[in-house]
């Protein structure tokens, strides 16, 4: 049994992972922006077997709120064994191109905020000597593409940050997991037409829990995205520029 903090707990992927934690009796602390969305999820996880499912509302964009949230999580759980950082937004790429403020806001939510948060968490885990931080990135971070490079670049920055943090903590008992989901059928992608590459949140949630259990450093989910992104990274620039990706 582990004590797990989930930030962005109302995301469809996080909720699916949380159900697996609950079924094995883990103690959960759920953090999200909207209390009204959080309450039914916490209720459900308790019914499914979570030994506790405390909730905390926080806007992750407000960096000053991170410390108080972590204090509250420690109060609720005692020790934090694992953290799943699952929040993010899929910005409107056109709006980000037209308006620098939109691009910066997308970076703030998808890169600056998780970097600030994970820094604070890592320091606490380092002080206690053990732990795991799992962060949801994206395959979009593997190469900047015209269709969503603002989102992709934020996820790329986050991935490089996690690489460095993992390096820094390599000789400790603290593990860092970078999760790179492909296209997932969730409310975040509601506006996109679904093709055969879309995975359901249940599958992705299951892969995340397995990777956390195995203390992996990086996963693609579903796994075939590792191959797809390897190919996309290798496509020579002149050819790449003739595609619409």
């Amino acid at each position: 049994m582990s004590n797990i903090v989930i930030i962005g707990a109302t995301s469809a992927i996080a909720e699916r992972a949380a159900r697996r934690f609950a079924e094995r009796g883990d103690a959960l602390y759920l953090v999200a922006r909207r209390a009204d969305k959080l309450a039914p999820i916490a209720e459900d996880l308790k019914v499914r077997g979570a030994s506790q499912a405390g909730t905390h509302t926080m806007d992750a964009d407000d960096l000053d709120a991170h410390g108080a949230m972590l204090d509250a999580a420690v109060d609720a759980l005692g020790v934090i064994d694992q953290v799943l950082v699952a929040y993010g937004t899929l910005p409107d790429q056109q709006a980000c191109e037209a308006d620098p403020a939109s691009a910066v806001a997308a970076w703030h939510t998808n890169a600056v905020s998780p970097i600030a948060l994970v820094t604070a968490i890592a320091n606490r885990l380092e002080a206690q000597g053990h732990g795991l931080i799992a962060v949801i990135g994206s395959v979009a971070g593997d190469r900047g593409r015209a269709s969503n490079y603002v989102y992709g670049s934020a996820k790329a920055g986050l991935a490089a940050f996690l690489d460095g943090l993992r390096h820094r903590l390599a000789d400790t008992d603290i593990d860092i997991l970078t999760i790179k989901p492909g296209l997932v059928d969730t409310p975040m992608t509601a506006e996109i037409d679904k093709g055969p590459l879309f995975a359901d949140a249940e599958r992705v949630g299951r892969d995340i829990v397995t990777a956390m259990d195995k203390r992996r450093a990086e996963i693609y989910t579903p796994g075939f995205w590792r191959l797809i992104m390897a190919i996309i990274r290798m496509v020579p620039r002149p050819v790449f520029h003739r595609t619409k990706l």
């Binding site: 469809a12 009204d36 039914p40 209720e43 459900d44 019914v47 409310p187 509601a190």
Partner: protein, 442 residues
């Protein structure tokens, strides 16, 4: 070949599908605001015909409304959102010693779908229908908002209309169900071969008091002196002391593509049924079985409905009153065998006399027969119309959850309380089934 989204289990071709789909992530958001289209909740799409469809209208996909709200492991009362599947309830309940009070032949249905079709199971003779175990539910209505319905409160009329109400009375947003105690996950299953329909009726009568679950498979291709032969299966939950140590099997195979023609056809129908009839040498067998393969053998083969090919299939289920049941069931089987139609999934069961709580509930005392028919166009619908005539003459009924073609007059005869039901329909809700059946009254 992939299946169209928001189709129904029979996969009959030629439907335009919904014009709009809502996919609420929270039950508080499940409020269809638009009034330029009609609405209908969509769960797992396991109803066979046009009951789950709203062609040209709007669907409310309840897949994400799948959260539990409360579970009292002392009393077995469970409360959850409408999209929770029966399999999820079993996964939670069985380790705590609780089981579904009534279950259909698949666990891949939502709790609200089970309620809205007032489904039944192999224990109908002792437990009645699914709706008989629903303690309460919340219903969102376009005219009055969210209301709490019980059999004994001010909304008792809506309670009776919504159970078996095919999703037409509004959106079910929360269900409270009473589970039943079981000693463990295993079943004590007895399988007995019978050669005639008379033997089936005798076995049913003899087993009604001793066995909680009874059902028979019948060879629908057999005629003459083989008419009505099959296997009778009766079971009880195995007592706690006798629980074996075997584990259930994991996920089974999937029919990953639709074959270009039905694998069940004139050439294969007879041999498939004969093989099944002669599948074991012993005429009587008794064994312990985990509840999964016992209750849900077809769940082990995902997308089994694809075996009927691109034209899909009809399912037909009727019930006929007990008095004439032996003669009427014999006549139905004779007509089916003579037509060379049907499949190998043919089921016969005696319903008990526990009243169904819904205005449009299908189960009533008598014998019920259910079979699949690969879609061969007019040839198939003409046979089904002929079966309807037999059922009407016998004062029986046909099950809407499985129907895609019964005539409006037939429906009105089978469900004489339909005018009271029609008064309770939500003005913003409709379905392809209802427009077909109610015509200008829809």
């Amino acid at each position: 070949m992939t299946d169209a989204a928001y189709s129904s289990w029979g996969r009959l071709p030629g439907h335009e599908g919904p014009a709009r789909v809502l996919r609420p992530a929270q039950r508080a958001d499940a409020r269809p605001e638009a009034r330029d289209v009609s609405w209908l909740a969509y769960g797992c799409g396991r109803s066979y015909g046009d009951v789950p469809r709203n062609d040209g209208g709007g669907l409310i996909d309840t897949a994400a409304l799948d959260r539990f709200i409360a579970f009292d492991a002392g009393t077995g009362v469970i409360e959850c959102e409408p999209g929770v599947q029966l399999g999820d309830i079993l996964r939670l309940g069985v380790p705590a010693g609780w089981f579904l009070p009534v279950t259909p032949g698949t666990q891949f249905v939502t709790i609200a779908g089970a309620l809205a079709n007032d489904v039944h199971g192999k224990n109908h003779h002792v437990a009645g229908t699914f709706g008989a175990h629903v303690a309460a539910f919340d219903l969102w209505r376009s005219d009055v908002g969210e209301i709490h319905c019980r059999a004994d409160n001010a909304h008792r009329d809506l309670f009776a209309a919504t159970i078996g109400g095919l999703g037409l009375t509004g959106l079910i947003t929360r269900v409270q169900l009473r589970l039943k105690r079981i000693p463990g996950p295993f079943m004590d299953v007895e399988t007995i071969r019978f050669e005639t329909l008379a033997d089936f009726f005798a076995l049913s009568a003899n087993s009604a008091d001793s066995h909680e679950y009874t059902v028979a498979w019948v060879d629908c291709s057999a005629r003459g002196n083989r008419l009505g032969r099959g296997w009778f299966m009766r079971a009880n939950h195995l007592s706690g002391l006798a629980q074996p140590r075997q584990r259930p099997r994991g996920p089974g195979p999937s029919v990953f593509a639709t074959p270009p023609f039905s694998l069940v056809n004139r050439a294969t129908l007879g041999p498939l049924n004969s093989l099944y009839f002669h599948r074991r040498a012993r005429r009587r067998d008794r064994a312990a079985s985990h509840y999964q393969p016992y209750f849900y053998p077809l769940d082990a083969v995902r997308h089994w409905n694809r075996v009927y090919g691109p034209r899909g299939f009809y399912q037909y289920q009727c019930v006929v009153p007990p008095g004439d049941a032996p003669a009427v069931i014999a006549e139905l089987l004779e007509r089916i065998a003579a037509a060379g139609q049907g499949s190998f999934l043919s089921v016969l069961k005696i319903f008990g006399d526990i009243p169904s709580p819904g205005l449009l509930s299908f189960p009533r005392p008598g014998a019920t027969l259910a079979l699949d028919f690969p879609n061969r166009g007019a040839e198939t619908t003409q046979l089904l119309d002929a079966l309807d005539s037999v059922v009407r003459a016998a004062d029986g009924a046909v099950y809407p959850a499985k129907d895609a073609r019964m005539a409006p007059e037939a429906f009105r005869q089978f469900f004489p309380r339909w005018p009271q039901f029609a008064d309770q329909i939500d003005p913003a809700f409709s379905s392809t089934f209802w427009r077909r059946i109610a015509g200008e009254h829809a």
